[in-house]
Symmetry: C2
Subunit: 358 residues, 2 copies
């Protein structure tokens, strides 16, 4: 690591754009109208004679005027920023959702303020400060921990925010997500249908709503098939990264009556599972079948392809953004929770009859 050569660019920086930033007043003067009129034109307010509008637009073009949003923000008391809280930008699942949010946001003239809550934990609450102080107009929260705090805490009350993926269907906060219970039951049912009787679950801490929902799905599917669940078959992980999945697998497979199938509540975990099983010399799916959750693009790339519950990530983000935008447009209107469809994608990690990916 070294510092490369440096050149004098000071000259380049003092010179250009030294123009004193033309304001609405300058445009008004140039066009021979008042600032109010310019403002009207700029905001497409009606009640401006076409001819006047022309003049203003000409002056704008001539002077190369561009709006000072800071001033407008103060005046309108809005920042046109949407806060997005993610536990980990590095997780492809969240990354896709963020793209969905971003797409809708900018379609509506908003920008996305991204906060990686995992990066500096414990500071979750301060993010809602951003809302209170109007630095952001609304928030979409994807971080289960933050959502929990927000659902309980005061700070978020009455603020325009929506929960995404982690949600309480009986709460008062607008949300978008999928039916986690049904999805998990489906995944486990698939494994059972394949003949497995000992199915392991790698799940997040039960303090998370989605973890409880998926756990319920797992329990229901097992019960429906009349299968008992040994204690060690349910492993709890602290994070969702590859390593967590590997570690949980090692622990799970160390038992005498180790499962012949593993359902992990995220693809990143499941990929860690695959890697651990490989290390243990187990064949997938012959010795142990694996099912993940999310269907990140990587799921189709690993070997064998990962069977998984597909979540419509982009659409989840887009729907969350739309929900929030609706809230902002009509602060008083009640907002329904939104559940999007999931679907089980069967690949080689669970089904031996499936050869290599298409």
């Amino acid at each position: 690591m070294h510092e490369a050569d440096q050149r004098g660019e000071a000259a380049l920086l003092t010179e250009p754009d030294a123009a004193p930033a033309v304001s609405i007043g300058a445009v008004a003067a140039r066009a021979g109208v008042s600032v109010a009129t310019v403002s009207r034109v700029l905001n497409d307010s009606d009640g401006v004679r076409p001819k006047t509008r022309e003049k203003v637009l000409a002056a704008v073009a001539l002077l190369g005027y561009s709006m000072n949003h800071l001033a407008r923000n103060l005046r309108t008391s809005s920042s046109r920023l949407l806060l997005t809280m993610v536990p980990d930008v590095g997780n492809p699942f969240y990354a896709q959702i963020v793209r969905g949010i971003d797409a809708v946001a900018r379609e509506h003239g908003y920008f996305v303020l991204l906060c990686d809550t995992g990066a500096d934990a414990g500071r979750e609450r301060s993010y809602f400060e951003l809302l209170r102080t109007r630095r952001a107009d609304g928030a979409i929260c994807l971080d289960p921990d933050t959502i929990q705090q927000a659902l309980a805490g005061e700070l978020s009350a009455g603020q325009p925010w929506v929960a995404c993926c982690e949600f309480d269907p009986d709460g008062d906060v607008p949300y978008v997500g999928i039916d986690n219970r049904a999805a998990a039951a489906e995944a486990v049912g698939h494994l059972i249908g394949l003949g497995h009787r000992r199915v392991g679950l790698i799940n997040s801490d039960q303090r998370y709503l989605y973890a409880r929902q998926r756990r319920r799905g797992y329990d229901e599917a097992m019960a429906a098939a009349g299968l008992a669940v040994a204690a060690g078959w349910r492993q709890t992980v602290a994070g969702l990264d590859y390593e967590a999945g590997s570690a949980a697998t090692l622990a799970m497979m160390a038992q005498p009556d180790a499962p012949t199938a593993i359902f992990a509540v995220s693809d990143t975990l499941a990929i860690g599972v695959l890697s651990a099983l490989r290390r243990l010399g187990k064949r997938v799916p012959e010795d142990v079948a694996v099912v993940g959750f999310d269907d990140i693009s990587l799921a189709a790339q690993v070997a064998p392809g990962l069977t998984t519950v597909a979540q419509p990530m982009h659409e989840l983000g887009a729907a969350a953004a739309r929900l929030l935008l609706r809230r902002l447009a009509a602060p008083g209107a009640p907002l329904p929770g939104v559940l999007l469809a999931h679907r089980l994608v069967v690949r080689g990690s669970s089904d031996p009859s499936i050869r290599e990916a298409p």
Copy 2:
């Protein structure tokens, strides 16, 4: 996809925080001082008697005052926002860099405005508008395309921005990156040292500086070993995703004198390579050795482990943020380009003597 039940939360939204947002003036009145003094306390300006400060702070606490940043922004003509342009948030490589940026940014009281340039292409130039209109104080650009445009265009001239990963060492724009040529040469040299004589290159379009730099490293390493390069050994991809890597591999391996080793300029591409080779029934590294670039966390998870050139992603982001912050602090000062160290991480995808990962 259906809409879930909706409940009346209107009541919850009109009621709370109906407080008319206490301002600096209210605090001043409550504390029995002037707004100027309150402002001084709030900004830790010195020249305030401890006793007075106490009074103010007490009033702040009592009234639950919190600063209106929109007003401050207008006044100081700064938004405390750092624009970050990424070609694809979904790519783990960029995600890690973003975390590095984010960490440094908030350490200094800035927030990160994230723009996924890949999401709506062609609009690259408009991002610099954000700088001109002061909606962001500075920008870090990670998108090669946007960087190219910015390096050439007028719009970015004189604006406070830094290039990250894609850069022109001879240009006037501050940058942080690694020595791509040396890194590529090292990677290819490693393959040659393993006995390979036909080494393929999967590279991005030559219009990118990093692609040219890495291509040069490849060429140099091959030439240094006295190896000729067949035309088909160099494949160009349009994107960096898994699929692109697979497709390029299929094309490359279809040739009569197909390479026995492949160097891909990104891990995501390389993972696509692995998956394509598997599909072709080739063993890695026995039949074909593979080397990637970046060392994303996934590289250690795939089977076999991916040999790759590690880039200090988090540190790249952090360094870029620090560089930009320096620029903002002293707009006139010349900024040196920063090159960080890379290192070759050898795993099973190239070295047959390496068993399973640790």
